[in-house]
Symmetry: C2
Subunit: 548 residues, 2 copies
């Protein structure tokens, strides 16, 4: 009988392996991801290496093996896709960062972060663009590059890579530095979108003061609109889950709804040409403040760890991918005849990245310090050095931008473009490896006493594991007594200088916000202490009623 | 300064919205998924509707809206892709089913399940193929179809859709029926792969007894190899996590490793032309028996709910998608001139599906009952009716197979092929809606006393939420005292008839397995009670050491 079912069935099971080559690549990729996780675990106690460098090195090694096996024809399994990166890989990482960020640190330093992210990026971009124009014109590759390319190079290398920052800075060890550098990376994105919009809508031939005003107006619109969209999405999810009490029937629905609403906010922002990164980041913050407290206990644990896991896997994926892509033979072939040019270009770029970042970190830190009352709140010089250093890494975002500017869907035939791609790859590799490897030891060297790691974190983590995402370990918006006391202590010192006058608004805003939150927001949207929890665990109840 | 950064930056942020249309579709899709979840929650207490029907209806309505808005040009947002379905959507669903399945029920009924899945599918396939050949030849569409098409139709409509089964049958209410129908769906897949392999390797001109033997041999090889691969992947994950004690450093790594290893097993099976569905199902079973007990408490909660959530979202996605795809105007245009033919074809197919399933459920149940000792273990006639009825649904798998057979990458120009596609869609819609809507009431009507839902499930769920995935509510392989007592009771009745002699092996195998498991397997691979848990929750410890 079996034979009767003729060869025409042949197509049926084949469709699950319709593209054999892609199944092979996926196997290798997933196996490598597993390897990265296991090796990352084994190297956990090593004080130099971090997970991203492990993944990068494994990717590089795999690239070499593939290159040798394919006899120099190909080194990567998948073509680098910007859509894959921006639509699927980046949103969960940024959302998780917002979900787990320490809200207190972030909002206390909000002004500084915005200053760094907006003004700092512009300064860095200008320095790099100007430097590249001056230096490349004296090299032989200058002829093929237009003014637009120089500006693009400035933008590509001005943006701090948020994903790299997540890997090298530790939120619990250095909360101030983490929130400054990572927050800057998030605001960066809004800056680049607004740059684009500003440039598109104005006549660039007539540069006058109005352009500056328009630019500021656009930036504010984009910043506010993106933030608002994220906040609204978060509040909507909190309201739906609180009102419908979805956990009564199914824990899975709550988790699914949180995931989907967060993602929806990101793609809505993309749809409306806003900054999706900013939106999803604020959506994460609002969700951790309201929604997370409205769901069942098991949903809380699940969301906290599932989002972190997803983010972790995607980060590893990105670094593995960048590592494998680095050896793309197609681009290196153009460069191989004149290796000195490529090395020179890479060195110039790396130097300009260093200079561009220094050009805004130290002056802006100085400005920021002027507004701070107590010496303990100021950014010390050593911390400035770390901020400068930790933000130097360029990662997958730079790669994606470079591919977009200098290639047509991943391929290029122009020698200059190939040099730019390989130089970008070199800068990404060198900055991630060298700066990445050095950051942990640098922090330990520069800030040895201030943050004794063990004692703080044992408490911090036990607390956070049980009651909240990490953010609530130091409650800021949570309205707990601790944070209230903190602030009262600060306010005992009445304004007695210009700096103090400038500081007070932050705390006043904070107190007003907490009052507003407690009186209006939390009764509607839930949040810690505002959702009645039955004596028995909500988990039990969620299952019981499924059969009615 | 902003103006200076010229229009060339214009490309940069655009890459995140490179394909505006696809961003629009994704927005609609994600928003609809959210709507499905909320509406599904509101309809939870409705006794007729289930989640899949809600999603299907929402998909249909959206299809109508899009059809009207695009003025009859298009009705779906994404083209149905078999790769998307088989490589991304199906594996997590089947893995989760294995992860949460009641292992006792599954293994006690293993022989019956295999009988249904292997022999039953062949019978059903033959009935449908033969019926279609006889009837279609008398209709005008018979001319364009070849023998291969008939055989394909048989295969398309013979396979029970595991995803649909998950939605209509409830593991806790009707464990026997669930394990039989769902297990059959899993074994189905192996049958179709072996059919394909058998047909490819043999000369179909010479049909003799050797083909039957080869066929059986191939089926056994495929079944054993796929199962073994899944078991090995599961054991490897258990061993790695137990040996390295990954939870010590990071909960996220454990969850990531479980996810990735499960997925790796699926794509490895695809790579080696095995049955990925069977592999990932057994990987899920092994992971819930060993690996799940080796991870930290928070990883347990996370994996249990995250896998269930993922599976739930993907199931909803599939039904939404099938609903939206159903109105694909391209195919219906061919049919519109002669609507009677399409209705006739759909009716014939639906009738043959009913007949084909009846042709094996009742005879094979009779055979299976012959081997059962006590009347309580036998499949009653009423249960047979439910098995027959609940397995009638045809879903996304049938759609995917039909698209593969009758279209070229989603499009067709042949009228007969268009009729086959639209008929498949009709059968899928009608079977899912009608049979789906009727299953819950039918079960309530036919089995009113046997399973009082509330009392059983309150206990079952509280237990399962706290200690284990659902599977361990009725521990079979867990070595608990309860299941041991169960078996002793059974074995008090010494073999006193042919049926009893045939039953004993199952229980003997079970006891031997439990001994083997306790003596050899669990000390190596962990599992319940074999992983030392520190007095404080492992969650705390996992965080503490992250900074060293």
């Amino acid at each position: 009988m079996g034979g009767e079912l003729s060869y025409v069935l042949s197509k049926l099971p084949m469709l699950s392996t319709s593209d054999y080559a892609s199944v092979v690549s996926m196997n290798i990729f997933v196996a490598l991801l597993c390897a990265c996780i296991v090796i990352g675990h084994l190297l956990e106690e090593n004080r130099w290496v971090n997970e991203s460098i492990t993944a990068l090195l494994i990717g590089l090694c795999t690239g070499v093996v593939i290159l040798l096996m394919s006899r120099g024809k190909s080194s990567h399994l998948l073509v680098f896709s910007e859509d894959l990166f921006f639509i699927y890989l980046l949103p969960p990482i940024i959302f998780n960062a917002g979900f787990q960020v320490k809200k207190k640190q972030f909002f206390v330093n909000f002004m500084t972060i915005t200053l760094f992210g907006a003004v700092g990026t512009l300064i860095s971009c200008s320095v790099i663009t100007f430097g590249v124009m001056q230096i490349f014109k004296r090299m032989d590759i200058g002829k093929a590059l237009e003014i637009g390319d120089y500006l693009a190079i400035g933008a590509i290398f001005a943006a701090t890579d948020s994903v790299c920052t997540l890997q090298v800075l530790n939120q619990d060890e250095t909360p101030l530095l983490y929130s400054l550098v990572f927050g800057e990376g998030v605001v960066n994105d809004a800056t680049s979108v607004v740059l684009f919009n500003a440039i598109q809508s104005f006549d660039l031939k007539q540069i006058d003061h109005r352009i500056g005003l328009h630019f500021i107006g656009n930036f504010l619109y984009l910043f506010v609109a993106s933030t608002l969209l994220g906040v609204l999405a978060g509040l909507l999810s909190a309201y739906i889950i609180k009102k419908l009490y979805i956990g009564r029937h199914s824990t899975d629905r709550e988790v699914a709804l949180m995931m989907l609403m967060a993602y929806l906010s990101y793609i809505l922002a993309e749809l409306w040409y806003l900054s999706g990164i900013l939106t999803v980041f604020f959506c994460g913050i609002v969700m951790s403040h309201y929604t997370w407290h409205n769901v069942t206990e098991s949903s809380r644990i699940t969301t906290k760890h599932a989002f972190a896991t997803l983010s972790f896997v995607l980060e590893t994926f990105i670094f593995l991918y960048v590592g494998m892509d680095a050896l793309d033979i197609e681009k290196w072939r153009f460069v191989s005849d004149r290796p000195k040019t490529s090395v020179a270009v890479s060195s110039v770029l790396l130097g300009l990245v260093l200079a561009g970042r220094a050009a805004f970190v130290f002056p802006l830190s100085f400005l920021s310090n002027l507004t701070k009352k107590s010496p303990s709140e100021r950014i010390s010089f050593r911390e400035q050095v770390i901020i400068w250093w930790a933000g130097l890494m360029r990662g997958a975002v730079s790669m994606a931008l470079a591919y977009n500017q200098f290639t047509m869907s991943g391929h290029t035939e122009l020698r200059t473009n190939a040099i730019m791609i390989t130089s970008t790859i070199s800068v990404v590799l060198v900055s991630t490896m060298v700066f990445g490897l050095m950051t942990k030891p640098l922090i330990r060297f520069l800030l040895p006493v201030t943050h004794p790691p063990t004692s703080i974190n044992i408490i911090g983590n036990i607390d956070s594991c049980h009651n909240s995402p990490k953010s609530i370990t130091v409650p800021f918006l949570g309205g707990s007594q601790d944070s209230e006391n903190d602030l009262d202590v600060n306010e005992i010192h009445r304004p007695n200088s210009i700096r103090a006058l400038l500081t007070t608004p932050t705390h006043t805003v904070h107190r007003l916000w907490r009052k507003f939150d407690n009186t209006f927001m939390r009764p509607v949207f839930g949040g810690r202490g505002f959702v009645p929890v039955a004596p028995s665990s909500p988990t039990d109840q969620s299952g019981v009623q499924q059969w009615q």
